[in-house]
């Protein structure tokens, strides 16, 4: 009986240790970006950003600055399917340290939707904020992708 239990316990320990590897989760960047590219049409591909999201015991915000050209029309496509828990995407006209920044977009009303888009023109910058909710059960992680296209 001991001969069977010992290897099983060993395997369980291996899995437990792997689960505590500081949130080292693998994200398929190529697959996520290929999906985003399909939703970008008919806009031309400009750039894309993969952001690693780590859920912690307190709420955190990760920000990506996106410079744009004022005379152009843009579409920004988000792919959030590699996130184990939904984050709120907010787009602002100024960075998170600015006092009077304006919220241009929020994914709050979109429920659990994993793919959505935002169109913008006549701005020189947008700031994409991922509001990452707190988690009480250990640390886990995922990644979010957005892609920018111009017309």
């Amino acid at each position: 009986m001991t001969k069977i239990i010992k290897p099983i316990v060993s395997i369980v320990i291996v899995f437990v240790l792997m689960a505590f590897q500081g949130g080292d989760v693998l994200c398929n960047s190529k697959e996520l970006k290929e999906k985003a590219k399909m939703a970008l049409e008919p806009y031309k591909y400009d750039s894309s950003e993969l952001t690693r999201i780590l859920y912690k015991a307190k709420e955190t915000v990760k920000e990506v600055e996106v410079p744009l050209f004022i005379g152009e029309k843009y579409r920004i496509v988000f792919e959030l399917e590699a996130l184990p828990k939904q984050v709120e995407v907010q787009i602002y006209n100024k960075d998170k340290d600015s006092k009077n920044r304006k919220l241009l977009f929020s994914s709050k009303d979109m429920g659990d939707k994993k793919e959505f888009q935002f169109e913008v023109s006549k701005v020189r910058h947008v700031y994409v904020d991922y509001a990452i909710p707190q988690t009480e059960t250990g640390s886990y992680s995922g990644c979010a992708v957005f892609m920018v296209g111009y017309k």
């Binding site: 590897q21 080292d24 912690k56 955190t60 410079p67 744009l68």
Partner: protein
């Protein structure tokens, strides 16, 4: 061979612990820069990227060389072939990671400039230069997949199609840099592309004095602040970074010192570059700095 069960019981968790340490330690910036010079296509087979645990940094999503050239072309800027970097110099830049990355960006900007000016034969030659520079950065498969060269040849007279083909290569290179943990290479390459575009815009404006080209030029100069921030977020990645950051910072300071720009910053107003003026002296100062930076990149 007979192995004691107690030994097995200890060995399996020990292997797991070792794996945990190895996987946590493989992410250092120094290691990244050493890896990147010798990255091979076998490394690129991996489709996944591992997670970094730093959650406080702000990141920067920089535009493509194609988009900069598109905005510039829309302003009515003409084509001056003598401004392009020598397409035969790719071997000269295969000396270190910084040179490879920055000149990959410069050739990307030249390719985009040719494309939007419908110079398709030149585009083909600069695509080849990008491919050669890209190969030294481990990007072979981005340029070789989906019969890219053949499709480019087949569609050479169709602007929309060739731009789509080049955009698709751009997406592939973006993904590969990400997978290979070479995000800093993307930023250095963008700085090369931005410098080349600025150089072309300044020279074209000096020749034609087209007000719209000046507006587009100022629009590109405004990007210098974001370029500095993006470079600073990778400042330990290559030994050339402090010099590069200081050169772009200098251009940013000169741009912010333009009387009309300074006034708009002080009043916290949106800048209207079509209505702004710039003195010959202000422009000359910026032009000299851009030329000097470009010269340091291509020599």
């Amino acid at each position: 061979m007979k192995v004691n069960m107690n030994t097995k019981f200890l060995v399996i968790p020990l292997i797991a612990i070792s794996l945990a340490f190895v996987s946590c330690g493989g992410n250092s910036e120094g290691a990244k820069s050493k890896e990147s010079a010798s990255v091979s296509d076998t490394v690129l087979v991996s489709d996944t990227v591992s997670l970094s645990t730093d959650d406080n940094e702000v990141s920067y999503n920089l535009p493509s060389a194609l988009q900069i050239a598109y905005v510039f072309k829309k302003s009515g800027a003409g084509f001056v072939p003598s401004l392009l970097n020598d397409k035969e110099s790719t071997n000269k830049y295969n000396t270190n990671n910084y040179k490879r990355a920055v000149n990959f960006g410069i050739y990307s900007a030249d390719l985009a400039y040719c494309l939007f000016n419908k110079k398709y034969q030149e585009s083909k030659e600069y695509l080849k230069a990008c491919k050669n520079m890209g190969a030294s950065l481990g990007l072979n498969s981005a340029f070789e997949s989906d019969n890219m060269a053949q499709r480019f040849d087949k569609n050479i007279a169709n602007e929309d199609s060739v731009i789509k083909i080049v955009s698709s290569v751009q997406l592939k290179t973006d993904v590969m840099f990400e997978q290979n943990k070479q995000k800093h290479v993307t930023v250095i390459a963008f700085t090369g592309a931005w410098t080349e575009s600025m150089y072309i815009a300044l020279e074209v404006y000096a020749k034609d004095k087209n007000k719209k080209v000046l507006g587009s030029l100022l629009e590109q100069l405004l990007l210098s602040e974001t370029v500095v921030k993006a470079l600073k977020s990778h400042q330990a990645s290559e030994p050339e970074m402090p010099t590069l950051i200081s050169a772009v910072e200098n251009i940013n300071t000169q741009f912010n010192a333009i009387t009309d720009v300074k006034s708009a910053i002080e009043k916290d107003e949106e800048m209207d570059f079509n209505a702004m003026s710039i003195s010959d002296r202000e422009l000359k100062t910026i032009s000299e700095s851009v030329k000097s930076l470009r010269t340091s990149m291509i020599n």
